[in-house]
């Protein structure tokens, strides 16, 4: 049977069964729409978790010295230069970045104009030095190197800290919200070896310094300020602290697949891996996946019901059209022609329903995002969109509609094909 003829016959019977076809398509649209909606929600929320709340690069491995070091006897467990060379030589390691904490407390006493408001506030800060390569691209002002004693230190702040500040701290204290570019150039005083909460190092003078914000970075220390590695080394040296061993090393794997091997090798070397964030991200991600999977399953159930509904409607319609089918057989329809007509009919209903459902899901998501912008209060990491609809989800929605309808039509189409024309046409 030719495609043009098939489409003509399908159009014919759909025109006749308009009401039934509409309800069948509606059922499919409900199931597909719900599925596309929940999958989009799961992917969208997952994306927010991955990209904004726990933005970690799948290729990064954070190595830290063991909490209880046996290094003193075994010659391992200390992140010194030979160890760094060994790490660099591990298979699968593309490059690495060293980190060193400033090994003294630090405090910032701010007293002055804070973006148009007077502010006087003191607090302890942590400072860590990192190699410029790690934060390359996030530095918006000058070079990320130690400017030397007496000069303001370039500092990066955490994008997440900024997010939390903007959405909880700032509104509560009526402070302005800040963007990274607004903050760039802002200078705050930092005194090393001064603290409001712990005892400073004995017999070490306070180093009064300034930190100039040069950008915000996902890789910056969450509760503190991230400065160039050489500046941290210099400060530690000036204060007579350990300036040789690193407080952490970030390894960059050649590919995410190389990460497990690297992790095993690192542990073998008596070092530890800081994967708190990765695990947290995985746990939250798993919870989101689980929830949306449950909802998706529910939607699939709706699709199954839609298929059952189509099976019912088509069975009735096939029975009602037995004579018509007999006529088609008499003028040359084979059994497979009859079956194809019924299947194609359902296919059209399914694609229409799938399309309708997918479009509805996209529109509903758009509406919710719009409403969230205007009606949901600001909270940290509040995304512009809670949804993500990659094209396979959209195409999959339409295909699922087709699948549900054709599955529902399977039995009725075979029943129609089995119509005995000699019986239906007699009399």
């Amino acid at each position: 049977m030719r495609l043009a003829a098939l489409s003509q016959l399908v159009r014919l019977s759909l025109a006749r069964e308009r009401r039934g076809a509409f309800f069948s398509a509606f059922g499919v649209a409900m199931g597909v729409g719900a599925l596309v909606f929940f999958v989009g929600l799961g992917l969208g929320v997952g994306r927010v978790i991955r990209e904004r709340i726990f933005p970690n690069d799948a290729r990064l491995v954070d190595v830290v010295p063991p909490a209880v070091s046996l290094g003193s006897f075994l010659g391992g467990g200390k992140l010194d230069t030979p160890m760094v060379e060994r790490l660099q030589a591990l298979p699968g390691v593309e490059t690495l970045y060293r980190k060193m904490s400033v090994r003294a407390p630090a405090a910032s006493l701010y007293n002055g104009d804070f973006f148009g408001r007077k502010m006087r506030m003191g607090m302890d800060v942590l400072a860590v030095g990192v190699e410029p390569g790690l934060v390359e691209g996030d530095v918006q002002l000058g070079k990320f190197v130690d400017p030397g004693p007496g000069q303001p230190l370039p500092g990066l702040i955490s994008t997440r800290l900024l997010e939390i500040y903007n959405n909880t701290f700032a509104p509560a204290r009526k402070l302005p919200t800040l963007t990274p570019s607004l903050l760039v150039g802002f200078t705050l005083p930092v005194d090393f070896n001064r603290s409001y909460v712990t005892a400073p190092l004995p017999n070490v003078a306070v180093i009064s310094s300034q930190v100039q914000v040069v950008g915000a970075s996902d890789r910056a220390l969450l509760a503190g300020v991230t400065i160039p590695l050489d500046a941290a080394i210099r400060l530690n040296r000036e204060m007579g602290q350990d300036a040789e061993t690193y407080s952490g090393i970030t390894l960059v794997a050649t590919s995410p697949g190389a990460v497990p091997g690297i992790m095993a090798a690192v542990r073998e070397m008596g070092l530890e891996i800081d994967d708190q964030e990765r695990r947290l991200a995985e746990n939250v991600g798993a919870a989101v996946t689980l929830t949306t999977s449950a909802l998706a399953l529910l939607s699939i159930l709706i699709c199954v019901l839609a298929a059952v509904n189509i099976a019912h409607a088509l069975s009735a319609s096939v029975r009602a059209r037995a004579k018509e089918i007999g006529v088609m057989q008499a003028v040359g329809a084979s059994r497979s022609d009859v079956r194809n007509i019924v299947l194609a009919e359902a296919g059209v209903v399914g694609v229409a329903g799938g399309f309708l459902g997918t479009i509805s899901a996209l529109l509903l998501a758009l509406l919710i995002d719009r409403l969230a912008v205007s009606y949901l209060p600001q909270f940290p990491f509040k995304p512009e969109s809670f949804f993500s609809f990659p094209w396979p989800v959209v195409v999959g929605g339409v295909l699922l509609g087709l699948l549900a309808a054709v599955a529902g039509a399977w039995f009725p189409s075979h029943r129609a094909a089995a119509t005995d024309p000699a019986r239906t046409l007699a009399g």
């Binding site: 049977m1 098939l6 006529v327 008499a330 040359g332 084979s334 497979s336 000699a422 007699a426």
Partner: protein, 231 residues
């Protein structure tokens, strides 16, 4: 045109007993003939027609129609045979209600080869049966006689040389029935072979041969009234 040998067709009754409707029936119809098969209601006339037309395959015996041996044909081949070689005309017309007259005539075109001339052909056939002016009417807006003419046009669409007619005047009053019979006579004069089953005299009197279904077999009816021959 038709050669049927030793046809046995039985139905299983409601209580499980076998009923032989056709019992060793044989039939020969020459090209261009006009044959009426008569017999009381329930004698198996429709059953015979369906199996000659390839609508029923559950029987014993051999059937050859228009040079095609029907036994052993696959479903698709049988469908093609019905599309190409026979036209059916039924007592209750069996037009598709939501299609216009011309679309009903076009029905066989959906199951055959594509032709850009299809609509033209359908219209010329409607013209042939005198219904061109009503080609866009739905069947409900046509009289019984008109509906049967549309059905005949549909049966002729693919140009079959054989029409199988199942009580074609059964649902028509005498006047319209006579009109349809006249149309059959014209078609027969143009070379189309006709096999019409009926239990009515007015149909059989138009035929050249009349066969009676009796105890599952066909016997030639001799009709003194027509001894002079009709041609």
């Amino acid at each position: 045109m038709i050669r049927a040998r030793d046809i046995v067709k039985q139905y299983r009754d409601g209580d499980g007993t076998e009923v032989r409707v056709l019992d060793g029936l044989s039939l020969d119809v020459a090209d261009g003939d006009f044959v009426a098969v008569v017999g009381p209601s329930g004698s198996g006339k429709s059953t015979l027609l369906h199996l000659l037309g390839g609508l029923d395959v559950h029987y014993q015996g051999d059937v050859e129609v228009a040079g095609v041996k029907l036994s052993g044909l696959k479903d698709k081949e049988l469908a093609r045979f019905r599309n190409q070689h026979v036209g059916f005309v039924f007592q209750s017309f069996h037009l598709i209600p939501n299609l216009s007259a011309v679309e009903n005539v076009l029905m066989p075109s959906h199951f055959g080869a594509a032709s850009p001339e299809a609509r033209k052909r359908a219209e010329s056939l409607l013209d042939r049966v005198g219904l061109l002016a009503k080609k866009d009417r739905a069947p409900v807006r046509l009289s019984g006689g008109e509906r049967q003419r549309v059905a005949i046009a549909r049966a002729l669409f693919t140009g079959p040389r054989l029409l199988l007619c199942d009580e074609p005047t059964g649902n028509l009053d005498a006047a319209t029935g006579a009109g349809v019979i006249t149309l059959f006579e014209e078609l027969n004069r143009e070379g189309i072979t006709l096999l019409a089953v009926t239990h009515e005299d007015r149909m059989s009197s138009a035929a050249r041969r009349v066969l009676r279904l009796k105890e599952g077999r066909l016997v030639e009816e001799t009709r003194p009234a027509l001894a002079g021959g009709v041609s």
